[in-house]
Amino acid sequence: MTFLVATALFVASGTAIIRVLRLDVRSPLADAALAWLVGSGWFATIAPAMRFGVGLPLSAVGAVLVTLAPVAFWGALGMRRRAAAKTADGAGPLASAPAAPPYRLPRPLWAYLPMIAYVAIVAAAVLLHGVNTPTHTDDGVRVRAFAPMLAFADEWGAEARALFVMAGPIPTFVPALGWMLGGAGDPFHPNYAVLAELVALLFLAVGLPSARGSPERGWSSAFALLSIPLFVYHCTSTYSDAVLAMRVGGGVLLALEYARSRDRRDAERAFLLLGFAALVKREGELVAAVPAALLAAQLAAERLRGRAFPWVALACAAAPVALGAVAKVAAVGLAGAFPMFRVLVVESGLSDAPAAAVHPGLRMQAAAFFFDQALFRSGNAGMIYWVLPVAIVARARALVRSGLVWSLAAVGALLAEVAASSILIVPQYTLDQSTVHRALMVASVPAALWIAAALTDAAAERDGVGERDDGGGGSAARRRRHREGRGTRP
């Protein structure tokens, strides 16, 4: 029950932030999803910065104040704008995105019904199994779900602080808010937090395209997302790998949306979600930096063609990363705050510390295993990595013309990052399969979303062909985009 109250607070907080930043999409589903992702990210940004950076103990009242601060700011801003509007007799307060058209079912419905049924069944099963299953240990040596209990108890010895750095601010502080509100009687809050992330991503995946007149794309994305078996299983656990994958996936989803809509606010939303994604696990910064950098490169390329670069949005995305870094450094010192960077420095030979001696033969074996078993054969990633290269080859010409190529580059870079980690840095964990499959999820989830986008475009191609044959000149969707002055789709 207290988790529901915490969820309502996060959603209220997130709604205020996206309204103030004018990043709402005026679609209840998508806005609720964005509000959860942003509101929980806000709390996980500010709470540890206050606790470790400023040294303020986090009480229930303090936590509620942190959560509701954006709501108060939004209210104050609204009153001020209303007053200004009265004096200037101007427009209403805080006008943001135009209202979305009503939802409609995907067409042809008979083709999408099995996909919708699959999404509904798997989502329901994951929710029930996830709610029912108590926490187990991680890796046989850790219980990361313990980190929020430390935030609740506000007991931060040296070992506890190391656990905070390991788990990251979002997995540490978000499940703790419910406990702060009502006491720690229900140890399932880490489960609920993971499941809330899944619900948010599904809402965003389905709601955003549906609100923009393309429910086909939305349901395809949800279907592809739940086509990664190990990811589906992870959502029923209290591990954070799925959370990181979903946060990064949310950012890539909005980057894909930007490729279609050319609406700068989609890029800004993507930046914001990727900024919060950096607050999950110790490798969050490294993983989220990849799609954020490629989105920035895309926008920089557009700047050469005359469009302004959204510096403010980039700063908004950088703020949680910076505050998260401040909290980590304040908690454990600079040397321990970024363990993954330290591993990279040691492995690259830039540090005097001895790197783990890895036999070249081991790396070769790991590489072979990675590309054969982890990607294609084991089934942990489903058929994602079979469909991805085929889609790239079959759609090569269309991709070059479309903005999807930037998102594809992000997926490729994420995959390369995981491959480098699995083959060069920790090949032993690839061969014993202790980390390789779940490490891949941060690439698999964006890849699944990209595949859904590419396949939906490919299916829509037939409409265009038919109309060309008839002397038409484009589908209704294309005509609508043309009227709106948006870009073309492949």
Binding site: P114, M115, Y118, I121, V122, A125, V126, H129, V131, N132, T133, P134, T135, H136, T137, D138, R142, V143, A145, F146, M149, L150, F152, A153, E155, G157, E159, A160, L163, A184, P187, F223, L226, S227, P229, V232, Y233, Y239, F376, R377, S378, G379, N380, G382, M383, W386, A391, A394, R395, A398, Q433, H437, R438, I451, L455, T456, A458, A459, R462, V465
Partner: protein
């Protein structure tokens, strides 16, 4: 030879003959087709099983005492077992095959079932467990505390025909449900189209999707005199994802706990799927210990699961993992320290004798107890 010895020899011979007859009769061609499960006379088993625990025939049935763990290797090969069993305590029954040197009850895949308190039939498919082979002996690996009573046992024998053996193995593995274990978080069970030929399911699905792609291209050429690779790609991609998802759904749904349970304590008690004794202890300890009591958790040497998970379930009570012989103990990930004399309570899960000065105040079994300082 005394009369008693002669009678014993005759009984032993009769048991062996009955066992051989049961297995041979079941293995004759045609028996497989009607999927008959052959009754195994329980009186043929005592003295012929291997393992670390005595198997005793009583009026109730075959009794197997379990304290901690118990291993029973049955003396005949089979592809499936059905046992009607009950246990008077929390006992987890895992099964695997034993051929050659050993067995791996934890797999992966780890196949297990919680033995019910009331007699009920339990179906153990040996083909989907680790180490099955036509000649492999079934191994029952029992964890918990209590006595397992087997009232009846039936076996599906291994067919003689190698083709039938391969078909039985392939069919069972293809549709075997996933089971939650310690390694499931790292990897799911591999999916073979044909395990006997080592043909991956992914290769077959990819082949089918390629066929759909080519067929869609051909149809578009026949109908419009031009290729529509986009639509063909969409169809093929959908076939690939949908086929895998359908297979995944068949394996995932039986594993998932789909029964809504509102009560948090009941979820903890009942849903540690592979350790019912542990779940019951965790729930009991939560109900017994007051907030603020300083707890030490004690487990078997080398048990990394139970002590840490117990401390998690008891949080935010100060909780440490008791190291035998140590004066100072630490908690999960070495967070928090307590000296032995600071402990108010001990929760022991197969942790051996309680430290001096503590007495049991609540117990699931004699090996899973909550104790307080006297």
């Amino acid at each position: 030879m005394s009369t008693r010895r002669q009678a014993g020899a005759v009984r032993s011979l009769a048991r062996r003959a009955a066992l051989a007859l049961a297995v041979v009769t079941a293995a004759i061609p045609g028996a497989r087709a009607d999927a008959t499960l052959v009754p195994i006379p329980l009186e043929t088993l005592p003295g012929r099983t291997l393992g670390n625990t005595p198997v005793v025939l009583s009026a109730r049935g075959l009794e197997i005492p379990v304290v901690g763990d118990a291993v029973v290797a049955l003396p005949f090969p089979a592809q499936e077992l059905e046992i009607e069993a009950a246990a008077d305590g929390p006992v987890l029954l895992s099964w695997s095959g034993r051929s050659g040197s050993g067995f791996r009850p934890y797999g992966p895949p780890w196949r297990y079932v919680a033995v019910p308190r009331e007699p009920a039939p339990l179906r153990l498919d040996l083909r989907i467990a680790w180490g099955w082979a036509p000649s492999a002996r079934p191994v029952l690996y029992l964890l918990g505390t209590g006595t397992l009573v087997v009232r009846a046992m039936r076996a599906r024998p291994v067919p003689r025909d190698p083709v039938a053996i391969a078909a039985a193995l392939d069919g069972a593995l293809l549709w075997a449900p996933e089971s939650v274990g310690h390694t499931t978080i790292n990897l799911l069970t591999r999916s073979y189209w044909s395990a006997s030929r080592r043909t991956w399911l992914s290769d077959v699905v990819a082949g089918a999707a390629l066929a759909v792609f080519l067929a869609a291209l051909a149809v578009s050429w026949l109908r419009h005199r031009r290729f529509h690779p986009g639509l063909a790609l969409a169809l093929a991609g959908l076939v690939a994802l949908a086929a895998w998802n359908a297979h995944f759904l068949v394996r995932f749904l039986p594993m998932a706990n789909l029964r809504p349970q509102h009560d948090v304590e009941a979820r903890i008690r009942d849903n540690y799927y592979f350790s019912p004794e542990f779940g019951a202890l965790a729930a009991l300890a939560r109900a017994t210990l007051r907030a603020g009591e300083r707890v030490g958790v004690s487990g078997e040497r080398g048990d990394w699961f139970a002590p840490q998970t117990l401390c998690f379930q008891l949080a935010p009570r100060p909780c440490v993992i008791v190291e035998r012989g140590a004066e100072v103990h630490s908690g999960i990930s070495r967070v928090g320290r307590l000296r032995s004399e600071e402990l108010d309570a001990i929760v022991s899960f197969h942790g051996g004798p309680l430290p001096d000065g503590f007495e049991t105040v609540a117990a699931v079994t004699p090996e899973a107890v909550v104790a307080r300082r006297r």
